[in-house]
Symmetry: D2
Subunit: 344 residues, 4 copies
């Protein structure tokens, strides 16, 4: 399968290149850019020297539909709202890594993203796919909206309890922490090394745009309260940890809750539920597509604490996008994604 | 005033040396050790070469009472439970940086610390002093129990609301994050660079020994529920952030809550309440005695989020110990502690 | 091919597991340990949960010869000097990642390593193989001595000039820098996070045990002077950079020197000589088997500066060991090693 | 003494504020800016909240001459070439932290800095002062040119041998490494966290603008050859290490060389020559004005290796500037600079 990538110079794009370079069924056909046509990708990413020889091409939907079997959009949020419909209309199969088609309610999108929503028609056509939580097969879909990094970690951590209707309404607080690569190659004072190194920050307090994405899915599970969701920037490049607090209904023991998780993810190759009393650290999934989960119940408070970790660029972006592409084309879900995390 | 330090080779001890070296009223008289007698401190801490010429001496309570006006115990928890009473009996004034005399209920201590409590007699004599929250003066006290790092950040963040009886019972969740120096010079696989770098971990889930210290103080404020308190290890050397979640009673607006904090800390030189919408990062207090606080109220959920940051070795240990010593001797509270944070 | 690994709990072992897990011709058969028999590898390395199910077995040369086609020794230096001969005598094919068989002169080994050398008989049988610099094929060899991390980066950086006899005798100075994982899981004060983070150290000044390994190879190139070689510890987990200074004979221009390198490595898939004026950074080879080289000639001083970077755990250890194993068995040199560096 | 700072929003400016805040003889009078008039400094540097209340003022030489006793120029290189003469003409005493007046030969400046030199008249008036190496007192000087960070570490490391005429011509190679704060708050792709973290880079190969500054001083010591000087970026915020290689004349032993250094710096409070066999690490001088030096002689090669470390923002910029200001006004050289390094 010939793969086109728009936005290969971003970190999500770099990870797509790394994965697809070793994928048994996909191969990189073309890289597209809105601003750097003619540049060699290895001028931007020296680590790709001699591996990915492609020159960046300009975006041309008709030509892209001919030259590719699938296009990944690893562009900044906002760009996809225009670009995806053009590509889809030209006949491309599109996996969109941006936030532009995740929120079905355009008012919610515009409130949280502070920008104009894509057209409702195309939003409705987009299939939001967090594979482990999908209700139906996405095989043959033309347009996939790939989940956000925080929602992936958070929803995988919360879904077994929520889908079992065992989460007390109004009880969910998510304290999320991310490595810096989530900000991509944004060139700003706040993103420079000396400002972030040896520093821990909270940001977008009560206003992170991933809140409506998580709540939208929780509503599908019949959990209808707003959640408290705060995000922190940790001085490391990769990794997300969602520490999720909630109150469990039904007088479950810790072991029963743990069993619920084990059963829920029994056939899901990328979710690893740790043993009782063992909690994952972010580096244990670095550069891989795994989501690792640890579970604890505190009898003193009646609260459950769930720890869910992913690599934000992999299961939180490029890895999950390839997982979705595998499913769209009917390949094995793990094709090209079976590699071990890189440790240490 | 002549200062003796027991445990100068730990990181808390190193910070005491740094502060007292520039303190207008204290000077380092002697350094004591249980295991490295005769060694020069700069063999252990090369950064002190030429600054602190002291040779480590063996512990001798009678001699220490003669040679010092105040002794700081910067020893591992457990050591002070025996040592402090010996020093106090010999007539020393003692500032104890360990956890051994913080918990008034010995059963609680033994449950959480998993070790034998100090004698109840001496525990009762110890004055737990988190200066900004003290009800009465500690001037002239002989025995101060210095608070833990997490309790300092957390209690300063929560006290204004709690003391105002505006925190809903059962609503408090604290998601705390610390730099690695909190583990001191512990030599273990879990503390080596390659295991911690580029990694984020949760640890002591539901079992951190600082929980009873926080709850003990909250009870004094008439908040009587157990709290959920989780701790995370962040890949940086210094800094603690407590992200505190709670539900406020009384229909306060964000501005009213913020005003409550501003008023509460109006005469407290080491607490800086940030403007509404501004949140502190840990590096903004590095190497200083400040505790910086940011406040947010979310109308969607009715929850308050308080962010409180300190340098764990300073306001969380050595800085607060010197602040307490200043108060014991009737010096200005800020003596020797007025320096700016080190940034970047 | 069935692979056995002795020392899988070290970082070199962890990388072997990662590579072999995705290798087309090798599969992990057994993991051996001298001290942790019966333990599951994922108790030590949680990142391998669900990937590498093996339980650690005790070392038994006879059984190992039956159960494996090749054994990698990723043990501490000193252990292999005894173990390798036992395994070889039992019929194993052995790739030794330690320093024990690299130095052909046992006096030199004992001077630099400060320990007893292996028996001269077995040292003579060991084939030292830095593949890009080998004079003859190693296919069918039973016993490979895998080069050290610093020698790999340094020799690949220096070989084209040295083999061309264009390096002035006595002119070579190597300023080498390494990430911390080179120290493995050594549990010592000097290896803990707070001591190494935000810190840059020089170590083993004039006494690093990799000096005789580099000089031994240089002598094969007819460069016979001792080199100045200093090593520094950089606060990062992975990566080695050798900055190599020397004086070139023969009035070559920068372009001619560069062309010499391009030609020398023209058929070497893992060496990437960068364009003139472009220099590699360590992260551009992270988690890959590449060695990237940049070249500069300074007309003011007549000196050449060569920059050579590798991932110390990959091309500097496990990656090169697998590369050697590929060659021993006649597989394609790049089998299982073609993956892209992980960036950022 | 009333201090004015131009460029307080840079990292050098931040350090000046930190030092002067605790200085016994200086106090911050005014902060000046070319672009952010009216802004509170704590809007830029939250760590200064409540400490330094100043509002940024516009640059006005006449007013500055009235309002201050000394002005520090912590502006980007290039800005001082115009500004310093204006301030000096208006009667200000000026300590210039930029490179604009360091190079006495304007052709050299223009070659290395790739920009127009300041007027020769003012360059000649500027007193280049690296205090430990000054030949005469600078008390009463109106215009001080403060040395660069790399030249400070390098020249202090090399001066005892060079001044003793014991360095072989043509033998000096300096491999210098710096933390990232040396790049200041430069907002560029190359300066963002994810590009620099876990990465080691060489930069400005053979072209660093600090080369002529070092060579200019070496010529004063009668060492007349060009030096090889390479600079590397290390993933840490602060610290410079210069590893200096040279050949010593005169058959000195290691102990004799070491004694030469001890004698040379015997009355210099900020230079700490370590014991033989002991080498400084950068963190051992963090946030202090010390320069620590380690010395080694290798009999195998006849080469000396000198290791010199400083905090680039302190002894490499703001600390040395205050040291110079102390000397200009006849204060004790160490006034306001006696504090201990911050460790860990």
């Amino acid at each position: 399968m010939r793969v086109g990538i728009v936005g290969a110079t971003g970190y999500g794009g770099a990870e797509l290149l790394r994965i697809i370079h070793s994928h048994p069924h996909f191969e990189i056909s073309s890289l597209y850019t809105s601003s750097q046509q003619g540049k060699d990708i290895h001028k931007h990413y020296a680590h790709l020297t001699g591996i990915i020889p492609s020159t960046l091409e300009e975006i041309n939907p008709i030509k892209m539909a001919q030259d590719t079997d699938v296009v990944f959009l690893a562009v900044p949020t906002g760009v996809a709202s225009q670009l995806a419909p053009e590509l889809l209309s030209a006949g491309c199969i599109v996996i969109d890594l941006t936030g532009d088609f995740r929120i079905k309610n355009t008012e919610d999108y515009e409130f949280w993203y502070k920008r104009k929503a894509a057209s409702k028609e195309w939003i409705d056509k987009a299939v939001y796919s967090l594979p482990e939580l999908n209700d139906s097969s996405i095989e043959g879909s033309q347009f996939i909206s790939n989940p956000g990094c925080y929602p992936t970690a958070t929803l995988l951590g919360i879904a077994p309890l929520a889908k079992a209707k065992m989460l007390k309404e109004g009880s969910v607080i998510v304290d999320a922490k991310s490595g810096v690569s989530g900000a991509g190659q944004t060139i700003s004072l706040g993103n420079i090394y000396s400002e972030l190194n040896e520093n821990l920050k909270i940001y977008k307090v009560n206003h992170h745009q991933h809140i409506p994405e998580i709540e939208q899915m929780l509503k599908q599970f019949d959990y209808n309260s707003p959640i408290t969701f705060q995000t922190h920037l940790v001085p490391m490049t990769r990794g997300i940890m969602s520490t999720i607090y909630g109150t469990a209904e039904g007088n479950l023991t810790e072991e029963e809750i743990w069993q619920l998780y084990k059963d829920f993810y029994t056939d899901k190759p990328f979710v690893r539920v740790r043993d009782i009393g063992v909690f994952p650290a972010t580096k244990e999934v670095t550069a891989s597509n795994y989501c690792d989960i640890g579970i604890s119940f505190d009898e003193r408070t009646g609260r459950v604490t769930i720890v869910s970790v992913i690599d934000n660029l992999m299961k939180g972006a490029a890895g999950q996008a390839v997982q979705n592409a595998n499913l769209v084309f009917g390949f094995e879900e793990t094709a090209g994604l079976k590699f071990s995390p890189v440790y240490p």
